[in-house]
């Protein structure tokens, strides 16, 4: 098992820089998920580690060995592709044993390793089928099995679940989590789905426009997003953003926007003179918009809003609220018995409120 | 026994080709690999020409000045790799090398040789000199002058042939597209036996052309061909039609060009039909549904939906068809090519073929070929330009 280190990685496609000096260290046995919107460079980073993409600048180490110019097969990695990339002209067994056959491994060993992987993934009955005869989930498992057979130092997953339907995706997610517990090897997993990232990762790497935005455990990136982008990307439904200006008043900071003004506690943002007149964005998750409740402990003063639409999701309910010109989304326990157009008192939970500087986009609150 | 030895000869040839490719690949491989090493430059400059010289000498191809040529070539190759190609994309070039060497030797070189011939004088009287010494008298532009002033065959001159060629091309392509369109429209319905019809309709295209043309030529025989037999029966059956002039025709002797056209139209319709049918099937039926709701008639649908949407498929096919028809020697030569055959049906390319191989006027026909090529080139450029313009207008 192994560590992976990216040092100052740069990638240029013609005039377009898709990776701008990426630094990242991945520890042994770690499950790291790289997440970001499409085109952020996450897949390129993974493919560079696999040796499928040329490196324009910087260095990649696996276990302290520089692998920049190593052939993919010499890097002791295994990769699960988005479209699985099962060889259509080989049976499941031949697919899984291909790398070992290339190495001229003894037949006995090949058989044993394929059997073991098949056992882990319950592929025993499918070994003599062709990929065409398999369902999407089965193909996915074969692709993972092919990776396991290689006994690599690092597993690379490139959006492995994006071709599956929603239900199967959930099942495979659990399977991959179980697999990690069993193999306990280093895994780097690329996805654009933040739910996958939150549920699978030991550590999440959030990327945007070729730059790493934040690295941290799922709870860290959820509770303490480093900047506006992370705050907006992680969490579903997405965070409410309120644009406004800060004023320093005696002992505390006051946030004001055309539709809403709030006094922020010093716990959230100390009354520092430098905040005077600063343009900021206030971020509150829908869960922390407390609707139908008077102001209480750790909560802002109450203000009134109008319920525009409510959506019942089952155990939760989404409320689309409007205060002045400001639209807010609140998620509350079902059933919130109010009809559209009615007045709803709202307060915002200070415990999970974030203040972002509009200019630097960084979080300035505690 | 004779068969076996011929087989052996062919197998040996294939082996030589493979070996040649291996040598070529190895040669380029080392140039890619060591292009920036100083020692390789000098070693290559000394080694490769020597090896090639020895090899060619052993193969009996050595001649005076060969070594100098090889040496100069190698220097150019080395410098080329060192400063221009470098080590980049070596694999791609190595994969391309055999095919493009083949194209260079058997397509580009003959083309250049053709140009060389057109400025010299190779004919039956000078061919022995060329065979022995490899040199030919230089005549400058005289061959080109002759192309326009001396008829290539016994009678028709260049401009008459050109006119006939354009007429031939226009008539053929017109009927190919018309027939192909009609058939494709009929076949594009949800009818029974569609697959069977389609299969039977492509038979003229699927038959070996030589068989098809020769058989049809036989059927245009004035006495025993079925065309005249049928015409005879019609005339006998209905005196009225006979009075209008329906009756047997001396196809091959009186109307050779019409005969060739009839045969070629018959041959070319299936291709157009298949291409157009493919295009028609790719048009989504929802357009027609929408037009139906808007109240469009059959011909309005044809005019405003089918034609514009089929154009991207039709235009390249028509361009291709035009070039093929323009260049069609097969039909005309097979119909009229026997000794003593008529020359009234000849178009430019078939005249070229006959001038070269029936009259043995090699250099003249080389110049003739270059002129034809230029005409065709102009036509293609014109076609592509209008096609591009149409594309942009959309």
């Amino acid at each position: 098992m192994a560590t992976v280190k990216f040092a100052g990685i740069v990638k240029n496609f013609k005039d377009n820089q898709v990776l701008k000096k990426v630094d990242l260290e991945i520890k042994d046995h770690e499950f790291v998920v790289i997440v970001g919107p499409s085109g952020c460079g996450k897949t390129t980073l993974l493919r560079m580690l696999a040796g499928l993409e040329e490196i324009s600048g910087g260095e990649i180490y696996i276990d302290d060995t520089l692998v920049n110019h190593l052939h993919p097969s010499k890097r002791q990695i295994a990769m699960v592709f988005q479209d699985y990339a099962l060889y259509p002209h080989m049976t499941v067994e031949e697919n899984m044993s291909f790398s070992l056959r290339l190495k001229n491994a003894p037949k006995k060993e090949i058989k044993a390793r394929v059997a073991e992987a098949a056992n882990i993934l319950q592929l025993g009955k499918l070994l003599h089928r062709m990929p065409k005869q398999l369902s999407g989930g089965q193909r996915q498992r074969v692709a993972i099995g092919r990776a396991i057979v290689r006994q690599p130092k690092v597993f690379l997953f490139d959006e492995p679940l994006s071709n599956l339907d929603a239900k199967l995706r959930e099942e495979m997610r659990v399977e991959i989590a179980k697999l990690y517990q069993r193999l306990h090897s280093t895994i780097i997993y690329v996805t654009h789905d933040q739910v996958e990232a939150m549920t699978l990762a030991g550590r999440i790497v959030i990327m945007n426009q070729g730059v790493i935005q934040q690295v941290g455990t799922p709870i860290e990136v959820y509770r303490k997003p480093a900047n506006l982008f992370v705050a907006g990307f992680i969490g579903s439904p997405t965070m409410n953003f309120i644009e406004g200006t800060l004023r320093v008043e005696k002992g505390h900071v006051r946030f004001s926007s055309p539709s809403l003004s709030l006094d922020l506690p010093s716990k959230l943002l100390p009354a520092d003179g430098s905040h005077e007149g600063r343009e900021v964005t206030l971020g509150v998750r829908p869960d922390d918009v407390c609707a139908g409740r008077e102001a209480g402990k750790n909560c802002s003063q109450k203000f009134d809003s109008v319920l525009e639409v409510s959506e019942l999701l089952g155990h939760r309910e989404n409320l689309y609220l409007k205060t002045g010109d400001l639209r807010l989304l609140a998620t509350v326990e079902a059933f919130f018995n109010q009809s559209p157009g009615s007045k709803v008192p709202v307060c915002l939970n200070f415990d999970n409120m974030h203040v972002f500087d509009r200019e630097t986009q960084a979080r300035i609150s505690a | 026994m004779e068969l076996l030895s011929s087989l052996y000869e062919v197998a040996w040839f294939v082996f030589v080709v493979a070996a040649g490719i291996a040598v070529l690949e190895g040669y380029f491989y080392y140039h890619f690999k060591f292009h920036d090493r100083p020692w390789f430059f000098w070693a290559g400059l000394a080694g490769f020409p020597l090896l090639a010289w020895l090899g060619l000498g052993a193969a009996g191809l050595g001649k005076e000045g060969l070594f100098a040529w090889l040496f100069a070539t190698e220097a150019v190759v080395l410098l080329f790799f060192r400063h221009i190609v470098k080590g980049r994309n070596s694999l791609a070039y190595l994969l391309l090398a055999p095919a493009f060497t083949g194209l260079a030797l058997l397509l580009v070189y003959p083309f250049v040789f053709q140009i060389y011939l057109s400025f010299h004088d190779l004919k039956l009287t000078t061919i022995m000199q060329w065979k022995q010494t490899g040199t030919l008298p230089f005549v400058g532009l005289r061959q080109y002058y002759d192309v326009f002033t001396v008829p290539p065959l016994a009678e028709a001159g260049f401009f008459k042939l050109l006119g006939r060629t354009l007429w031939w091309t226009f008539v053929n392509v017109f009927f190919h597209v018309l027939g192909g369109f009609a058939l494709a429209l009929m076949l594009n319905n949800d009818i029974r036996f569609k697959g069977v019809y389609r299969t039977l309709l492509v038979i003229p295209w699927a038959m070996p052309q030589v068989v098809a043309v020769l058989a049809m030529r036989g059927e245009f025989h004035s006495q025993y061909g079925f065309v005249n037999i049928i015409l005879n029966k019609i005339a006998a059956f209905s005196p009225f039609l006979a009075s209008l002039g329906v009756g047997p025709v001396q196809w091959l002797s009186d109307h050779p060009l019409t005969t060739c056209m009839l045969i070629n139209v018959w041959l070319g319709i299936p291709f157009m039909m298949v291409v157009i049918l493919g295009g028609l099937q790719s048009i989504s039926s929802s357009y027609y549904d929408a037009a139906d709701i808007d109240g469009a008639s059959y011909f309005q649908k044809l005019r405003f939906i089918t034609l514009p949407l089929i154009k991207p498929v039709l235009m390249p096919a028509v361009t291709l068809g035009t070039v093929w028809t323009f260049n069609n020697i097969n039909v005309i030569y097979l119909v009229t090519g026997q000794a003593g055959g008529t020359e009234q049906a000849d178009i430019l390319v078939s005249a070229l073929y006959k001038a070269a191989f029936t009259y043995n006027r090699y250099s003249y026909s080389a110049a003739f070929a270059i002129v034809i090529f230029l005409i065709l080139f102009a036509i293609s450029v014109f076609y592509l330009k209008t096609f591009d313009a149409a594309k942009e207008a959309r």
């Binding site: 060889y87 190495k103 | 030589v210 058989a215 036989g218 037999i229 191989f357 080139f377």
Partner: protein, 293 residues
């Protein structure tokens, strides 16, 4: 109106509609059948002539199965001419040509499909523009080259003349097919431990058998049906390909008509079978090429 009346009116309308449709389809069938007759009749005629007994070779009879039908023509074709030898000559030349052509095309197409390199676009344009060169134009220089190499009247001369003629088209077809194979398959193979060439050889080539066979068939039929080059390179009757042989038989119209027809049937049927079997792929390749070009 009562509901019955409405229903009756509706039924009448439906019947009228059905009648109209029936007439339309009848017309379509008639039109197509007329064309089918024109397309098929000449072939049937050849068959009919090939069955005619020797004393009635020429007749003004239109019956498809002639009186006293016999296979005599086939028999005399096989025994009294070099027909089998002609077929053999064609076969050897054609197979060698196709083999060389497809081998060269398969690697070149791979380079065009998977790599970006200087001159790629120029190379593709060169390939397309070779299609503009009149086929008849290169016969003369090729003929002179073959003469100079002393390969007149030999298989080798023919193979050399044929081998690259279908190359551009084959490269084009194969490139189109390779383009549809996902790159991730080769990448998986690279990760599994093959070289780039190994990935081509072990993954791409086996997957491309349909396209390779189409390219092979295309090379094969082009060379198999070729006449004009053979006409000038081969001059002894024993070395003839079948196209030359049939031309010779047909030239002596009256006397050899039956044998010509018999030979035509024998070469046409296999070609027809192969063509109809492969036409789906061949046509999709053709239209692909033409649409892209």
């Amino acid at each position: 109106m009562t509901t019955d009346a409405i229903r009756a009116a509706g039924a009448e309308q439906a019947a009228a509609h059905r009648r109209k449709k029936l007439i339309k389809y009848a017309l379509i069938h008639l039109g197509i059948i007329a064309f089918v007759c024109v397309c098929v009749y000449p072939l049937l005629r050849i068959f009919s002539v090939s069955l005619r007994p020797g004393d009635k070779l020429v007749s003004t009879d239109l019956a498809l199965i002639p009186d006293g039908a016999t296979f005599r023509s086939y028999w005399s074709l096989l025994t009294s001419t070099h027909f089998l030898r002609w077929l053999w000559n064609s076969l050897v030349i054609t197979v060698a040509t196709s083999f060389i052509g497809v081998s060269l095309a398969s690697t070149a197409a791979y380079a065009f499909s998977r790599f970006s390199f200087g001159g790629k676009k120029a190379g593709l344009i060169l390939l397309l523009s070779t299609q503009m060169i009149p086929a008849g134009m290169l016969i003369l220089p090729l003929f002179l080259m073959i003469m100079k190499l002393g390969l007149m009247n030999t298989y080798l001369g023919m193979i050399i003349a044929y081998s690259v003629s279908s190359l551009p088209f084959s490269i084009w077809i194969l490139k189109g097919y390779y383009d549809t194979i996902p790159r991730s398959l080769e990448e998986a193979a690279l990760v599994d431990g093959t070289s780039q060439i190994g990935a081509f050889y072990r993954v791409i080539l086996p997957l491309s058998t349909p396209a390779l066979s189409i390219a092979f068939l295309f090379n094969f039929t082009t060379a198999w049906n070729e006449y004009l080059v053979a006409r000038v390179v081969l001059f002894s009757s024993k070395q003839y390909t079948w196209t030359l042989g049939l031309f010779e038989l047909q030239g002596q119209f009256i006397t050899q008509w039956g044998m010509f027809a018999a030979g035509s049937m024998l070469v046409t049927l296999p070609v027809l079978a192969v063509f109809l079997y492969s036409s789906k792929w061949l046509i999709s390749g053709l239209t692909l090429g033409s649409v892209k070009g």
